[in-house]
């Protein structure tokens, strides 16, 4: 009797049980400061007079990229971020990763969220194999982990399918080959909170299939996934929840079908 009672109770409370938050974004404002974008004259004398008169503001313009966004992400969720160009999606992602300081408000995370991407750490003059090692180390892997993963990364990228290309400098690769290798390196590491910025559509058909599968795996291993993309189909495939951002403000936060549907029809709530 007692057993059945308990299981009944479980079934009832299951839908309202407390979930574990992984990312809490609390009324966040982000401001970029751009130097040298002022409309004032750029001549040396005017610059000098500005320095002397300590009028600093005319050369610096502030861009208020994110204006008071709040949401909470929970363990096991995959969340899509959509919105038109320049709406602040990527900025939001960088702020969650802790790479951009917030002007106001706070972002609290479980562990260290990481952006999927190592492009900036790689060097075109170096061979593919050196870049694999460098990229992995840049993501914080130990040399032993790099050795263990190296073969897997090269095979996944398919760089060596048509001969020994991995020992050639990366500048000799075609743009597709380079993109494939970069994705393979970036996807080699698992993260608590994974942030993906339009990384899905790289390489040829076969590689796209493989990378989609890999992202599914990463999703399984990661606590929470954020995906920024203009490809609504990949958002639909990967995410069950979607946040719509426009001009730095949160327009809508809900189930993907509903939000993406209204986004495509241009119906702002």
């Amino acid at each position: 009797m007692a057993d059945t009672d308990l299981s009944k109770q479980d079934a009832v409370t299951d839908t309202v049980v407390a979930r574990e938050p992984t990312v809490v974004v609390d009324d966040v404002h982000i401001v970029y400061r751009v130097h040298g974008a002022g409309s004032g004259k750029g001549s040396a004398t005017s610059a000098l007079s500005r320095i002397i008169s300590r009028k600093r503001a005319s050369g610096v313009r502030e861009v208020h990229a994110v204006k008071g966004i709040s949401f909470t992400a929970y363990k096991g969720e995959a969340i899509g971020l959509i919105g038109s160009n320049g709406s602040g999606k990527s900025t939001m992602l960088a702020a969650i990763a802790g790479l951009l300081p917030t002007e106001k408000g706070g972002i609290y995370t479980n562990g260290q969220p990481s952006l999927l991407g190592v492009n900036a750490a790689l060097m075109n003059e170096l061979s593919g194999e050196r870049n694999v090692v460098l990229g992995c180390l840049a993501m914080g892997m130990s040399p032993a982990q790099v050795r263990a993963r190296y073969q897997e990364i090269v095979e996944f990228s398919g760089i060596n399918d048509k001969g020994d290309f991995i020992s050639l400098p990366m500048r000799t690769y075609s743009s597709g080959m380079g993109a494939r290798l970069r994705f393979s390196i970036a996807a080699a590491k698992t993260h608590d909170v994974l942030l993906i910025d339009e990384a899905l559509a790289t390489g040829d058909q076969a590689f796209q299939q493989r990378s989609k599968k890999r992202i599914e795996e990463l999703r399984g291993e990661a606590g929470t996934v954020f995906l920024v993309s203009h490809d609504n189909n990949s958002i639909r495939e990967v995410c069950e929840r979607t946040i719509w951002i426009e001009a730095g403000e949160l327009v809508m936060d809900g189930p993907t079908e509903e939000v993406v549907g209204r986004y495509e029809r241009g119906e702002r709530p």
Binding site: P21, T22, S70, T72, Y108, L115, A121, V133, G254, P255
Partner: protein, 313 residues
């Protein structure tokens, strides 16, 4: 089911957490502020964990630097040698500076000075640009930002070690035999490396905030070079100057490290029994150690203090 289609409900805490503010929720589950600056000890630990990255990054940069040049890595040695050649012509032969030295030793004295000063000069210059030239890296990946200025110092050190081979050949060619003082080369270079790392960290933070500084640096460095006695002996002139200038010249870190290494490479230049010789200012090792430790500690803390601000546009 109807609650699911309510747009806001996906964010709101449920069950036992219902009604908590975001901050209370974050505190309850022990979430940390994203991108917050770690404590000095934790920072050092993170930095140590990244030592392999620092080394790989430095080596990769060094290799990538000369891939376009046909002579490749050779330029690392040829460029300072050409500098030495010009200085020898102007200061040694035309201005007759070499007369104040034991015979045939001026060239060794000059080359050691040029290479050693260039080590610090490069550390300052690359430190200034360490953050601003790598914004892409900083905005994409997480790592203790001090990795960058330190990696650039490692690049300079690797270049210097290549140059040291050339230096040894030059010194031997000048007829100076290897002696016990050569053992002092290693600790002297270590001290200078520590000093350079510190100054590179300081310049990195300044350069990250004020990009104009990189325009000023070449001028400052040239002034420092002439005032440190790289191609002429300050010691020959210093007795004619006011006391405070003498003190400044004695403790000037660039002179200190040049003196330490010149003495280590070619002690004969400072041999008091020779009719013509150079004099060594007192307490150079003490100053060398003090500068190295002092600047490194100051630079490290100074850089760490702004850790969370690097990468802001």
């Amino acid at each position: 089911m109807s609650t699911v289609s309510e747009p806001v409900s996906l964010s709101a805490p449920r069950g036992a957490d219902a009604g908590l503010t975001p901050q209370q929720l974050a505190a309850k589950y022990g979430l940390a502020v994203s991108g917050a600056r770690p404590g000095l000890f934790a920072y050092t630990k993170q930095l140590w964990a990244r030592r392999h990255f620092i080394w790989a990054f430095a080596t990769a940069r060094l290799v990538a630097q000369y891939t376009d040049a046909k002579l490749g890595q050779l330029w690392q040695v040829v460029t300072p040698l050409l500098n030495c050649g010009v200085f020898y012509l102007v200061f040694g032969i035309i201005l007759q500076n070499k007369n104040g030295f034991p015979p045939n030793t001026y060239i060794a004295w000059l080359c050691v000075g040029v290479f050693i000063f260039q080590f610090t000069q490069n550390a300052v210059q690359s430190g200034t640009r360490a953050i601003s030239d790598n914004l892409g890296l900083i905005r994409a990946l997480h790592f203790p930002r001090a990795s960058l200025p330190i990696a650039f110092t490692v690049i300079q050190l690797q270049q210097l070690l290549i140059s040291t081979v050339v230096l040894v050949v030059t010194v031997l060619a000048a007829g100076i035999a290897p002696g016990r003082t050569w053992l002092l080369i290693v600790p002297a270079l270590l001290l200078q490396t520590l000093f350079n790392t510190g100054i590179s960290l300081i310049m990195a933070r300044i350069g990250a905030k004020t990009s104009d500084i990189s325009q000023l640096i070449p001028f400052v460095m040239r002034a420092w070079m002439f005032l440190s006695g790289v191609m002429f002996s300050i010691q020959d002139q210093v007795h004619r100057w006011p006391k405070y200038v003498q003190v400044i010249c004695e403790i000037n870190p660039a002179s200190v490290y040049m003196n330490l290494l010149r003495h280590a490479f070619a002690p004969i230049i400072y041999n008091k029994h020779l009719p013509v010789h150079q004099s060594l200012p007192p307490h150079q090792w003490t100053y060398g150690i003090a500068w190295a430790v002092g600047i490194f500690v100051i630079g490290y803390v100074f850089f760490w203090k702004a850790e969370e601000e690097y990468g802001r546009g």
